[in-house]
C-alpha cells in the first residue's frame, strides 16, 4: 500500500515504541548470552573447575590468534579456506543451477537421471575421499572438488523442485500468448523461483563449509580445517578451538552476505 504521510496517532506511536522496546530486549539478551558464555568459560578455567588443556579458554584463544598473526600465518590459513569455500560454492551453485535448468527443460532427461540423483544425494560424500585424492591430487583442487560434490546435489534438487512448482495457470496463460519454451523459462520459471534461489543459497553456504573443511581433513597442508586436524593430532586444543571460532565467524559472515543479497533482491521487486 502507498503510505500517505500524516502524523501518527498517539496509539500508533506507543505501539511503535513498544515494538522497538521488545527488539532492544531481544538484542540485549542475545549479546548478553554470548558475553555470559565467554565469561563463564574464562572463569571456569581460571578457577580450575575445568582443565583449560582440554577446553581451552577465551583468553588462550585470543593469545593463539595473536601468535598466529605475528607468525604471519593467520590470514594465510583463513585465505586458503575462504578461497576454497567460495570457489566451491560458486561452482556448485552455477553448475547445479545449470543442471536443474537442463532437467526442467527435458522431461526425459529428468526421468532418466532421477534415481541417480537420489542415490548421489544419499551417498556420504566423504566416502569419495580416496578417489578424490587419486583424481585431483592433494592440493586445493581436491578440496574444491569435494566442496562442489557436497553442494551440487542440494542445489540441483532444490532448484529443480522450484522450477517444477511453477504455477500451471501462469504457464497456460503464457502459452496462450504464444510463448515458446525459452520464453516460459525466462519470463516465468526463473523469476518465480527467486525466493527458492535465495533459500537454496543459504543451504549451499552451509554445505560449502562442510565440503571445504571435510576436504581439508582428508588432504591439506593449509587452511582452517588443516589447523583443526593438526591441532588435534598434537593435542594443541587451543589451536583447534581457535580455528573453530574463526570458522564460526566466517560462516556467519557469508550467511549474512546472502541475507544482504536477499534484502537487495526483495527491495528491487517488493515481492
Amino acid at each position: 500500500m502507498k503510505n500517505i504521510s500524516k502524523p501518527y496517532s498517539e496509539e500508533h506511536r506507543l505501539w511503535l515504541n513498544k515494538r522497538r522496546g521488545k527488539l532492544a530486549i531481544v538484542w540485549t539478551l542475545r549479546v548478553g548470552l554470548l558475553l555470559f558464555f565467554l565469561l563463564f568459560w574464562e572463569l571456569s578455567t581460571r578457577f580450575g573447575w575445568v582443565d583449560p588443556f582440554f577446553v581451552s579458554s577465551p583468553s588462550r584463544i585470543a593469545e593463539t590468534i595473536a601468535s598466529l598473526y605475528t607468525e604471519g600465518t593467520l590470514f594465510y590459513h583463513i585465505g586458503v579456506t575462504l578461497l576454497e569455500t567460495i570457489v566451491g560454492f560458486v561452482a556448485a551453485v552455477a553448475l547445479g543451477y545449470g543442471i536443474a535448468l537442463l532437467l526442467w527443460w527435458s522431461d526425459l532427461l529428468h526421468r532418466v537421471l532421477e534415481p541417480y540423483i537420489v542415490v548421489l544425494n544419499a551417498l556420504p560424500k566423504i566416502a569419495m575421499g580416496p578417489l578424490i585424492i587419486i583424481w585431483c591430487g592433494t592440493g586445493s583442487k581436491a578440496i574444491v572438488f569435494m566442496t562442489i560434490l557436497v553442494g551440487i546435489i542440494v542445489v540441483i534438487m532444490h532448484m529443480l523442485s522450484a522450477f517444477l512448482e511453477t504455477d500451471e495457470n501462469k504457464l497456460l496463460l503464457l502459452r496462450s500468448m504464444g510463448a515458446n519454451k525459452l520464453q516460459l523459462l525466462t519470463k516465468l520459471v526463473i523469476p518465480s523461483s527467486r525466493a527458492a534461489f535465495i533459500s537454496m543459497l543459504k543451504v549451499a553456504v552451509g554445505m560449502s563449509w562442510i565440503g571445504s573443511i571435510m576436504g581439508e581433513y582428508i588432504v591439506s597442508r593449509a587452511g582452517l580445517g588443516y589447523l583443526i586436524v593438526y591441532g588435534g593430532q598434537v593435542f594443541k586444543l587451543d589451536l583447534v578451538m581457535t580455528a573453530t571460532v574463526i570458522l564460526c565467524a566466517l560462516a556467519a559472515g557469508m550467511y549474512f552476505l546472502v541475507v544482504l543479497l536477499e534484502k537487495i533482491l526483495v527491495k528491487n521487486t517488493k515481492n
Binding site: N169, K170, S176, G178, N271
Partner: protein, 244 residues
C-alpha cells in the same frame, strides 16, 4: 454475413491417463461470429476449461476441426498477474512474448490502461491493487495484444459477490466498448444471462451442445439486465435445461 471467428465442427477430445481414457467431448459443433458475446454454461465437470484450451489451440482435437480466425486472448479465474512485474510490465507481457513491443504498441497499450483508470497504478506492483483493479489490469493485458477473440474462463468466480458484480459490469463495459468478440465459459447462469448475446447450454460429459439461445435483451448493461423482467424467465429456462 459476419465472419466466423471461431468454429468447432464435430469435435471429439479424449483424455488419456494411465488408468484409462475419458471422452471429454464428442460431436461438439458451434460457432462464434465477429463481435458476438457468447456464453457457455454446462454442468460442473463437463470439461468447460478443456473447450477453451481447444479454442486457444493449446490442445488438438482427437477428431473434428477447430477453425480460428486470428489470435486469442485468454483470461483466467485468477488475474495471474506476475507479482514481480509492475502493472505496466504485466500489461505489456503479451506484446513482449509476441515480439510486437514497438514504441507505438507500448504507447497504445498504455493509453488503453489510462482510458480504463489504471494510469496511477502503472508503476505499482499487483500486490498493491485491490482484487477488482487486478482483474481489470488482467483484462487490459488480454486486450493489449489486440486479440480477435477473448476466451474468458470464469474470470469472475474468484471474487467476492460485491466485487464480482462490479468487475462484471466493468469488464462487460470494456469489452462492449472495444467491440471485442468473446467466448465466456461459466457455471453461473445469471452471469451468462447478464453478459451474453447468445447462451449455449452444454450437456454433461461427453460435452455436446444441448441448446442455443439468442438473448433478446435490448440493453447490454449487466446490472440493468438483472433488473429486467425477462431475466428470471431466462434463468428458469436455463436452470431447467442445465438440470435436465
Amino acid at each position: 454475413m459476419k465472419e466466423k471467428i471461431l468454429k468447432f465442427e464435430n469435435v471429439k477430445l479424449i483424455y488419456h491417463t494411465v488408468r484409462g481414457e475419458t471422452v471429454a467431448t464428442e460431436n461438439l459443433s458451434f460457432e462464434v461470429e465477429e463481435g458476438e458475446f457468447v456464453a457457455m454454461i454446462g454442468p460442473s465437470g463437463c470439461g468447460k476449461s478443456t473447450l477453451l484450451s481447444l479454442a486457444a489451440g493449446l490442445l488438438e482435437p482427437s477428431e473434428g476441426t477447430v477453425a480460428r480466425q486470428g489470435s486469442v486472448g485468454y483470461m483466467l479465474q485468477r488475474d495471474e498477474l506476475f507479482p514481480w512485474r509492475t502493472i505496466e510490465k504485466n500489461i505489456l507481457l503479451p506484446l513482449e512474448i509476441q515480439k510486437k513491443l514497438t514504441a507505438e504498441a507500448r504507447e497504445e497499450a498504455k493509453k488503453l490502461a489510462e482510458k480504463y483508470g489504471l494510469k496511477e497504478f502503472l508503476g505499482s506492483y499487483p500486490a498493491e491493487l485491490s482484487g477488482g483493479m487486478r482483474q481489470r489490469a488482467a483484462l487490459i493485458r488480454t486486450l493489449a495484444s489486440k486479440p480477435d477473440i477473448l476466451l474468458l474462463d470464469e474470470p469472475f468466480s474468484a471474487l467476492d459477490y460485491q466485487t464480482r458484480l462490479n468487475v462484471t459490469q466493468d469488464v462487460a463495459g470494456i469489452i462492449r466498448r472495444e467491440h471485442k468478440t468473446a467466448l465466456l465459459i461459466t457455471h453461473d447462469i445469471s452471469e451468462a444471462i447478464s453478459l451474453a448475446d447468445r447462451v449455449i447450454v452444454l450437456t454433461g460429459r461427453p460435452a455436446r451442445v444441448a441448446h442455443t439461445h439468442p438473448l433478446d435483451f435490448e440493453e447490454t448493461d449487466p446490472l440493468k439486465r438483472r433488473e429486467n423482467r425477462q431475466f428470471s424467465v431466462w434463468f428458469e429456462l436455463l436452470w431447467k435445461e442445465l438440470n435436465a
